[in-house]
Every structure is written in structure tokens, then in C-alpha cells.
Amino acid sequence: MTPASSNAEVTAVDTQARWPLLLLLGGAIKWLVIAGVLSLIASIQLHSPAFMSHWPAFTPGRTAAMAETAFVYGWAFNAGLGLALWILGRLGGEPLRALNWVVVGTFAWNIGLTLGLVGIALGDATSFSLLQLPGYVQPAMLVAYGAIAVAGILAWSGRRTDSTFASHWYAVAALFLFPWLLSAAQATLIWTPVRGVLQAVVAGWYAQGVWSLCLAPLALAVAYYVVPKVTGRALPAYEFAPLGFWSLIVIGAWTGARHLTGGPVPAWLPTLAIAACSLLLFHTSIVLLNLRGAIGGAGNSVAFIAWGLLAYTAGGLLDAITSFRSIASFTQFTHLVTAQQQLAIYGGVSMILFGGIYFALPRLTGRPWASAGFVSAHRVTLLIGLALLLVSLAAAGWVQANDLNHKDVTFAAMAADTRPWLLGASGAQLILLTANLLLAVNFCRSVCACCCCCAESAPVGSPFRPAATMEAHAS
């Protein structure tokens, strides 16, 4: 096992898939910054509703929808897909096939997303959480995803060895399941909408599916790949990993209806969700058991992943606790729910994806990150921003929940009570945006350096690029 900073580990898979995968990762980072700006606006509007809201495109409901969409479909999916393909290629031992499809799919996905965001700004959002993209871009997104996923499935089926590894399962599951999820939701919400509150049931199923069947598996594929590589040790209790995998896939999607507790839907839906949330702790514990080596592990990628794992575990635990009716009736409809979502998707999934990007990029470009200082600065700033965001949102939610449950507290009083915390959340969004700009700059510089290097056709004496090893691999 070579340390993360060395280039000796660059394989033929990496050089050959370099540009398509950099396209996906670059797209991800671009959307991360855009989502950061939109989240900042949406966050400010929570305490100062007049902010920018005279522009129809930036009216509060729309900015919130755009921020969420850009973050999930722009950042998390692009990054997750890029890393998943890279991992499947490496595990398969053969260069990735169908890379043309990946490039076409990536362009289609990102153009579709851009049109979708413009659509939301113009008022075409669907108003379903996590599925705000207007109906007219959804089919294109489906096809684009399929085009990108093909390369991963081919790498899996064409792998050199028969046996598979946990990263395989998680990555392939996400690639395979999202198209089913999206087409089922599209058919019953957009094209032939089901009636009344059934829409909320389908939307809840979809939103949970995006999380449990796509984003979490993509992140776990990365964690299961990077952690043993960096620590250089076999995963402890690995024999339980299949159980951990299947428990997520089988149970995960059932947990979504916890948000409908007390609502006008059949009562057995939240009941099942509560049971499912508790059962899912089984999955969370196995993941933690397998990957605990990351915590305290050396190296930047693993540090990100360790934080991500802690957040993932905490998120699972909080989901289980807050799903119980007595607690859900208190936390429901408040910033506490938002705090939990941010913990899961920013603290959990995104941190692991950051770790994956820090691990993959030097191997894709064949040279280290342009600035090591930026890498640590990104990590520190991100952690500060994230901690501030979670604490502020949780405190705002706590205050809000208490106020909502006292019938005499007016909304004006509630707004005054939550304001300091919501200001804190806006500050946190600003810090997070700054942090991610560091990543964006560092990414651009690293990729440019790689471009120049390629253009100069790899000077032998380059201090960054051990030409001999590269050529040996590029057979």
C-alpha cells in the first residue's frame, strides 16, 4: 500500500478514464458552489424574507427548491457517479468500457439539470421534496443517468475475478436502482398523478429511496473502497458486510413515511417507518464496525471519511429516535428536521464523497493536488461550517418546536426567538461556501496542471510524474 500522496498507484484504468471522470467530478464541484450560493440565499430568506424576494426567480419557495436540487442532483449525484465508476473500473481490473456514453450522459445530465433549475426559477417546480425538477426535464435525466450507469454495470459484469467486494454491491445497487425509482415516481406523480394524499406517499417513498438506495450506497461504495486501501488492513468483521448491505437495500426505502406521522395518511405507514428506522440501525452498526479503522486513520481522505461515517451513524441513530410518535410530533415541521437532513446529506454523504475525491484525483491526474494547504484548509473550514450549521439549525428547531407547541406564542414571537440561530445558520452557509470555493480552486489548478503536463507529453524529469511507472502501467 502506497501513501496517498504517491503516484505509483496510477493504473491503466485511471489514465484511460481520466477525462470522462474528471468531467463528472468537475461538474459536481461546480454544482456544489452553485448550491452553496443558493443555500445561502435560501437561508437568509428564513430570517429576512424580503431578501431578493422581489425577483420572482428568487422568491423564497423557489430558492429553497433550487438549492436542494442543485445540491442533490448536481453535487451529490455527479460526484457519487464519478467515484462509483472509477471504483468499479479499478475493482474490475479492466479499463472502463462505454466511456463515450459516460461523456454524453454527463453532458445530458448537467444540461438537463441546468434547464431544470431555470424551470424551477420560472415556476415549474413539481413541489415534491427532492423531486422538484420540472416534469419536462425528468425523462432526459433518466436517460442521462442510464447512459452514465452503463459503464459501471459493464465494468461489474466484465470484472476479472469472480468474487465481489462491498464497494461493488453498493455502487452497482445505486447505478441500477435509481432509474427504477425515478421512473416509478415520475409515472405516478407527473404523468398520471395518483389522487390526493397518495401523492405524498409516493413522494415520501421516492425521497427516501434517493437517500437510502442511491446517495447512501454511493457514499458507502467510496468508504468501503478507500478505507482499507489507505489503512492497509483488512476490514474487521467483514463477514457481516453482506448483511449490512442487504439490510439497507431491503429496509431503507420503508423509513420515509416517518415524516407523515400524524398526517392524513393510513396510520400503518408511519408505524412501519418507525419499525424500519430501528431495524436499520443494524445496517448502520455493521458499517461502523467494518469501517471503524477510518476513525483516527492517517491521511486527508480518511479524515474526511471518518467524519462522514460518524455523521452517518449519528444520522441513523437520530432518525430512529425522532421517528417515534411522541418525539416526531414535537420535531415535525421544524428546523430540527432540516438539521437532521443536513447531518445526513452534508455531514454523512458529502464528507465521504469529499474524501473519495481527495483520494481519486491524484490517481486520475497522475500528480498530487496543486495545493496541500488548500486541502487542509478545506477540511478545517468545512468542519467549522458544518458544526455551526448543525448546531444553529438544531437550536433554531428546538426553539421553534417549543414555540409551536405553545398555542399562545405568536409567529412574530417565534420569528424573534429563532432569528439569532437562523443568522448563525446563514453564517455557516457562508463558511461552507468559502470552504467549497477552496476545493473548486484547488481542483481547477490540479486539473490545469494535468492538462499542461499532458500537452508537454510528459517530460521525463517532471518532479510530479514518475514517468516510468506510468508507462509501465499504460500497456
Binding site: 424574507p49 425577483w55 420572482p56 415556476g123 425509482l181 420503508w254 415541521f333 428536521v337 420569528a415
Partner: protein, 227 residues
């Protein structure tokens, strides 16, 4: 997991199972929900909203009002929903059967709007709502772009906003709601859940389960009638 076929079948089976269980299961229970025919006043409930209100719901959806407002009142023992006067009963699935895009919402930065027009003692009227949307407030975003500030040509428009104080338009001009603002307000004024269905009564004599599980009360099924 050597066997690719079994692996993919397992993945597909899992997603299909959750879809079948959650979506088809609820559909089986609620898909056939019909309006409730009240013999007392020979009317069936809920009322089908007029077209303008249905269009207004889409305006509500596209502006994302649901990011701050819910439209679901919970049981009396859950939260302060009913104590705050948001409704006298819990919301039930039947309330939403005629809605194109039910806006249950997930966040309460502002009050619940399920029963906005049925509030007691006083529900807001069209003028209040127009003014709130046009001018906003310290707590509320303004939706000025739903209104037109135009010179008065001939007579003052019948729908022009009656504004006072700092909001008064310049002399010779008037603020007129666009069609979208009018349908949004018509929608808000149609939000009324005062009718009590058998399944929405929390008392044990009610035939339905108390938790909002209402597989269509028997009376409703028998006498239910599509309008």
C-alpha cells in the same frame, strides 16, 4: 454475490417490495375514497373546488408557499394544531381527494393553512390576503410580482387593491392583481375543512380508527357518490 442474476433480482425485488407495500398498499386503502354524502343537507363533501381555485393551487405550488406553510392539522393530542385554531378536527385523506397537487407541506415557519377560510372567529378575507401578498410584512415575503402597478385609465379597476398609508400608489395609478394573484386568493379562500367526516371524529364511537387511518367508513362507502 457471485451470481449476477440473483444479485440483480434481489435488488429489484427489494425496491418492488417497498413500492408494492407502501404505494400499492395505501392505494388499495385510499384509492377508492369517494366524497361523503350527507343526507342531512343532501350535499357531498368535500366540495369540488371551482376551477379558479384549482389553478390557484398550482400557483401556490409553483411559488413554493409549502416551504413555510403546512396544510395538515394533526389530532387534538398531537402538538398545538387545534389549540391554535388551525382546525377543529384532524385532516383526513378524504379532504384532499379533489386536489390536483395536495400541499401537505413539511415546515411550519408560518401557520397551517388547511382551514384558513373556515377559521373562527374571523377568517381573513380577500382584501387581507391581497394585501399580505402584495406588501408582505416583516415576517412574510412580498409577492409584488403578482400585481401590476398601472395608470388608471378611465374608471378605477374593480379589483384594484385598497391600500392606505405608505403603500398607497402614486396619484393616478392603481395596483391590480394579476390573474395569478386572483386565482391564488380564490384558492386560499377555498381552504375550508369544517365538515366533520365520520373518520375525522376522534371519539370512540367513530367507525374509523382514531389515528387518521380511514379505510373509508362504511356509511361513506355505501352512500358515497361522485359528483
Amino acid at each position: 454475490m457471485k451470481n449476477g442474476f440473483v444479485f440483480f433480482a434481489g435488488l429489484f425485488g427489494s425496491i418492488a417490495l417497498s413500492w408494492g407495500g407502501l404505494v400499492l398498499g395505501s392505494h388499495k386503502q385510499l384509492g377508492g375514497l369517494a366524497p361523503f354524502f350527507d343526507e342531512g343537507d343532501s350535499t357531498s363533501y368535500p366540495n369540488r373546488p371551482p376551477g379558479v381555485a384549482a389553478r390557484g393551487q398550482l400557483v401556490y405550488a409553483d411559488l413554493g408557499c409549502a416551504s413555510c406553510h403546512t396544510q395538515q392539522v394533526r389530532r387534538p393530542d398531537v402538538g398545538a394544531d387545534q389549540a391554535r385554531g388551525w382546525g377543529e378536527r384532524q385532516s383526513v385523506a378524504r379532504d384532499y381527494i379533489f386536489q390536483l397537487r395536495p400541499q401537505l407541506g413539511a415546515s411550519r415557519i408560518g401557520p397551517d393553512l388547511t382551514n384558513l377560510a373556515g377559521r373562527k372567529p374571523s377568517a381573513p378575507d380577500a382584501d387581507d390576503l391581497m394585501k399580505l401578498l402584495y406588501a408582505g410584512s416583516e415576517l412574510h415575503p412580498a409577492y409584488g410580482f403578482l400585481f401590476e402597478n398601472r395608470p388608471i385609465v378611465g374608471e378605477r379597476s374593480a379589483v384594484a387593491l385598497k391600500l392606505t398609508g405608505a403603500l398607497t400608489p402614486a396619484p393616478g395609478r392603481e395596483i391590480v392583481p394579476t390573474e395569478r394573484a386572483q386565482s391564488l386568493v380564490a384558492y386560499l379562500l377555498s381552504l375550508n375543512n369544517t365538515y366533520d367526516y365520520p373518520e375525522s371524529r376522534p371519539l370512540p364511537k367513530a367507525p374509523a380508527k382514531p389515528d387518521g387511518a380511514h379505510g373509508a367508513a362504511p356509511t361513506a362507502k355505501k352512500e358515497g357518490e361522485k359528483k
